[in-house]
Amino acid sequence: MTVGFAFDAGLAVLVLGVAVWTIAARAAFAAVVGFVTFGLLLALVWVRLAAVDVALTEAAIGSGVTGAVLIGAAARLRPTEAASAAERPGAAMRLAAGALSVLVALALAALVLFPPDPAPTLAPQAALHLAALDVGNPVTAVLLAYRAVDTLLEKVVLLLALLGVWSLAPDRFWGGAAVPAVRPDSGGALVFLARVLPPVGIVVGVYILWVGAIAPGGAFQGGAILAAMWILSMMTGLTGAPEIGRLPLRLLLVAGPAAFLLVGLAGFAVADGFLSYPAAIAKSLIIAIEAALTLSIAVILGLLVAGPPSREPRHRDAGHRPAGHGEAGR
């Protein structure tokens, strides 16, 4: 048994321990904190699995931004916990659920223990065209060139999720902004941090985006870091949440997918088809798309965390949205 394996075994036990805590903890808040630590540990696991791109994503999104959403929700839902506890399913139900879960886990474990022998891999195919794309990071190449259509659709999913969140707002708030909970007692220290950290965060975010062409990093990770800085500044009330009816905001939201789509359609004219890039400028195109995507991702993630609007739009007629009159239909 090598030192490396001992480390990995300890890490795996720790991950499972924190996961059990997340399920078993009595208070929801304790479970959420358990989940945040789970995300941090997963980032370590991804480094051990030689997937640093994933580790970056997990550190930024899986743990950081998700944690912010869940912790806020747990604190607000605390009054409901006692009532829900009475709805716990009976022993028979829990036993059945346990049996099902064990069965599923065992089946998956069997898959892990008896995998197909020449391990299936697309790595050689991915490596084949890396030089032509002039992109050193194979994961970026997969995300933005080989399987670019997946990434495009994923951006659409993000937008749809944001529309879903917005649509939860009562009609009169449509086009308004989410009210940031400005708490004077959250202390000068946090406000200080929210002033000092974003400049550093923006540099790191752009660096992660830029380095993504040759090393782990890219639009998702960079965008998530930028979003995090924006969220921090919204949390402390330094910047208000934007009104969702504003046209510039909407344009920013669709900028990434739109740029992607335009380049994709141009592929019909100048290359072999949808989302295929002319070899000479493939790298420049990829970086341009990534830059637009990063901005869109940052804005979408930030707005997802801010939540549905909870304030009436300031200039109601400036919004000129027919949806603003939805109440008349009731």
Binding site: A12, F35, L42, L100, V112, L113, T121, V142, P308
Partner: protein, 113 residues
């Protein structure tokens, strides 16, 4: 046993654990947490598969890695939407029960928007 197998097994166990939590916990927020654990387990399985596919000078097969990155982002957006739904439910009814006929919560479900 290799580290890859180890983390694969860890992923399988996480899927089971998450599934159990999704079924058993009555609180929607706990279900969301459990669902995210389940997702983390699935991602780890992908990670183990990617690591096994190391070839051509790469530490791991990039295709499953890219899928996991996409998955993490989508899981986050689903989580944010689910949390927003639960919070809206709480605002509208004062509770967060998924029970269709609440046995003994306040019956004041009338005057909401």
């Amino acid at each position: 046993m290799t580290a890859t197998t180890l983390f694969g097994l860890c992923g399988a166990a996480l899927v089971g654990l998450g599934l159990f939590g999704v079924v058993v916990h009555p609180q929607p927020l706990r279900k969301i947490l459990a669902f995210n654990l389940l997702g983390g387990g699935v991602f780890l399985l992908f990670g183990a598969i990617a690591r096994r596919g190391a070839a051509a000078g790469m530490g791991a097969d990039p295709v499953p890695q890219a899928m996991v990155i996409t998955g993490i982002v989508v899981a986050f957006s689903a989580t944010a939407l689910a949390v927003a739904l639960v919070l809206r439910l709480f605002e509208a009814t004062g509770g967060a029960s998924l029970n269709s006929d609440p046995p003994r919560t306040e019956p004041a479900a009338g005057p909401d928007g």
